[in-house]
Symmetry: C2
Subunit: 332 residues, 2 copies
C-alpha cells in the first residue's frame, strides 16, 4: 500500500509539513503542538462524515473536500471562535489520484480562505470515512454558548435556511424545479459557507448561538433545553431564498424548519442589541432575520412547562406544525 499512500503524502502531508505559522510542530511528529493566543481558550469540535449518510457516493470530490472542513468551521463560527487549524483522519477504499487531487483542492481552498492550517492526521484503508477535528480560539467570556439565552431575547437566523434540504429533495426526486433554482439548491447543499465572520462579529453582541446542521426546529431546541427557556417563532418571518419561495408552501416550511445541512447561525440577542446585530451582519456581509422571541417557562402551564417552540404565522395565529426530522441522506 505504501506506494499508493505516497499519493496521500503528496496531497496532504507535504502541505501540512509546511504549516509552521500557527503550529510550533505540525505533521511528521507524534503530536502537533499548538497554543491559543494568550488569554484565549482553544475551541475544539469534531465531525465524522460517512459515505451514504452525509454524502452520496457520486458526490463531486472537490465539493466534498469543501464540505468536510466547512461543517467543522461552522462549529467554530457558532462559538464565535477564530479558526487556527485542523486534523484530518480518513479511511478510503483505494487512493485514486484524481479523486484525492480534487478532494484536497476543495479542502485547502476553504482552509486557506480562513487561515486554518492542517496540523496532523491519519490515513488508512477502509470504507470511505472523513473525520476532521478543528481548532479555533476565543476569549472564554466572549464564547457564544448554547446555554446563554434569556427570556425576552430576540431569535435571529442568518441567510436563507432550507436551500440545502431543497437541493436534497431535487436530488432525491421528491420535487422538481427549474434548472437555475436547482443549481442554487445544489450549491447550498454541497458548498455550505461557514459563517466565521458573522460569528466573530457577534462576540459581545449575541447571547446564545449554534449552527443549524440538523434543521432549525431541532437545533433551536438545543438552545432552549440548555438555557431552560421556550421560544415563539413567526413561521412567516423565516427568510426564504427566491428559489425556495417558488416551491409549494408546505415544502418551503418543511425545508426551512426541518431541513438540515444549511450551516447558518441561529442566535439570540437582547432587543436593545438590534442595531448592533444588524451592524455585525453588515460587517460580515451576511443577511440576518429576526424570527421570534425567547420566552420563559411556566410550570403551571402544561404547554409552556418544558423547553419547546410555539409556532405562529404572521398574524400571530398559532400553527400546529408536524415536522419531520432531518435525516441527512439516510432513509431509515
Amino acid at each position: 500500500m505504501l506506494s499508493e499512500f505516497s499519493l496521500i503524502d503528496r496531497f496532504f502531508a507535504s502541505r501540512a509539513r509546511a504549516n509552521t505559522r500557527r503550529a510550533a510542530l505540525g505533521i511528521g511528529d507524534d503530536c502537533a503542538l499548538i497554543a491559543p493566543p494568550v488569554g484565549e481558550m482553544l475551541a475544539i469540535s469534531t465531525d465524522m462524515l460517512v459515505e451514504g449518510r452525509h454524502f452520496l457516493p457520486d458526490v463531486d470530490p472537490n465539493a466534498l473536500g469543501h464540505k468536510t472542513l466547512a461543517v467543522n468551521l461552522s462549529d467554530l463560527a457558532a462559538m464565535g471562535a477564530a479558526p487556527l487549524g485542523f486534523t484530518l483522519a480518513f479511511s478510503l477504499p483505494k487512493p485514486r489520484e484524481d479523486w484525492l487531487a480534487a478532494f484536497s483542492a476543495g479542502l485547502f481552498e476553504l482552509a486557506d480562505r480562513f487561515g486554518c492550517e492542517l496540523i496532523g492526521g491519519d490515513t488508512t484503508a477502509g470504507p470511505l470515512n472523513l473525520c476532521v477535528t478543528v481548532f479555533g480560539s476565543v476569549p472564554q467570556d466572549a464564547a457564544l454558548r448554547r446555554d446563554a439565552a434569556q427570556p425576552g431575547d430576540d431569535i435571529w437566523v442568518s441567510g436563507t435556511p432550507g436551500d440545502a434540504r431543497a437541493g436534497l429533495g431535487v436530488l432525491r426526486g421528491e420535487w422538481q424545479t427549474h434548472v437555475a433554482d436547482a443549481a442554487v439548491f445544489r450549491r447550498a447543499l454541497e458548498r455550505p459557507e461557514p459563517r466565521i465572520a458573522l460569528g466573530l462579529a457577534l462576540r459581545g453582541v449575541a447571547r446564545a448561538a449554534l449552527d443549524v446542521s440538523d434543521g432549525l426546529a431541532g437545533d433551536l431546541l438545543h438552545i432552549l433545553e440548555r438555557s431552560n427557556v421556550g421560544a415563539r417563532i413567526d413561521v412567516d418571518a423565516l427568510p426564504r431564498s427566491a428559489a425556495l419561495a417558488r416551491l409549494p408552501l408546505a415544502v418551503q416550511r418543511q425545508c426551512s424548519l426541518a431541513g438540515g445541512d444549511d450551516y447558518e447561525l441561529c442566535f439570540t440577542a437582547t432587543p436593545g442589541a438590534r442595531d448592533a446585530v444588524e451592524a455585525a451582519a453588515q460587517h460580515a456581509g451576511v443577511p440576518v432575520t429576526r424570527i421570534g422571541t425567547i420566552t420563559s417557562l411556566d410550570p403551571a402551564d402544561p404547554a409552556r412547562a418544558k423547553p419547546g417552540i410555539a409556532w405562529h404565522d404572521g398574524t400571530g395565529a398559532p400553527l400546529n406544525l408536524t415536522l419531520q426530522g432531518f435525516d441527512h441522506f439516510h432513509a431509515d
Copy 2:
C-alpha cells in the same frame, strides 16, 4: 435511529457532560473549550481505527475501547505530554447495548487512569470506524521531538517489543505457542499500555522519541530521517519477553524489529544521561534497554549517505536483515 442513539448518550455524552474539571465547556455545545496550563503547548494527535485493518471483527469490545484510546495516549507519551482530554468520533452499523457498554467501560477505565476527559464527539451510522483526537500539554522546550537525535546518542527502547506481533501471529496461525505464552502475547496485542509516566520522566533527559506503532525498524527510521542521522543497532541487545524468547530466532527478530502495535517508546539520549535514563525508567516502573547508537551520515560512503540502520549482532558482526513491514491486520 434516535432511540438507538440514546444508548450512545447514555454511555458517552452524559458522562462527558460531567467533565468540567479540565474543560471550561464540554459536550453539548458546538465546541469544547480548553486551554493548556500557562506557558505550555497543547499536544494533539489523531488516530483512526478501522475494523478488519486495526482490529478483528470479533475483538473483545472492552479491549477495543482500551486500545482505541491507548494508541492515542501513546502519541502523547512519545511527546512527553501529560494527558488532558480527547474527542471520540465513531460510526457503527447498529448500536448494541452490550457492545457499547463493554467498549465504553474499556475506554473510560483507561481514560480515568490517566485523568484524560472525554470533551466532545460525534456518532453516526456507518461501517465500524473509531477516531480519537487526544489532547495533552507539554512545555514547548520539553517536548520529545523526532528531529532532535544527534550522532553519538544512545538508542533506547522500553518494554519488550514484539509481543503484540507474536500475538497476531498466534491469532493468524502463523506459529503456535503454549497457552500461557499465547495469553501474554494476546494481552500485549489487545491492551497496550501507553508509556505516559515514562514520557513525562524523560522530559529533559531524552533527546528524540517516538512510539513504536508500525515496527521498531520502520519507526526508528522516522527519527533518523527527521534528524538526518544514521543508526547502528545491536540486534542481540533487543529485549525479548520470556514468551517471545521461546519462539524460533527468526520469528523473534521478525516480531521485535518489524512487529507493530507494541506502543513502546524508542528514544535517544546522550551517553552522559545513562544514569538519568535508568532513574526515569525506574521512576516510571518501565524497563528500558540500550540497543544502539546514533551515527552521523557520510556523503562519501554510499552505505552511510542516507538515514538508515546498520544491523549487527552481539559480536559486532554486520547482519543483513530482510524485514517485512508491519501491515496490521491486512493481508495486502
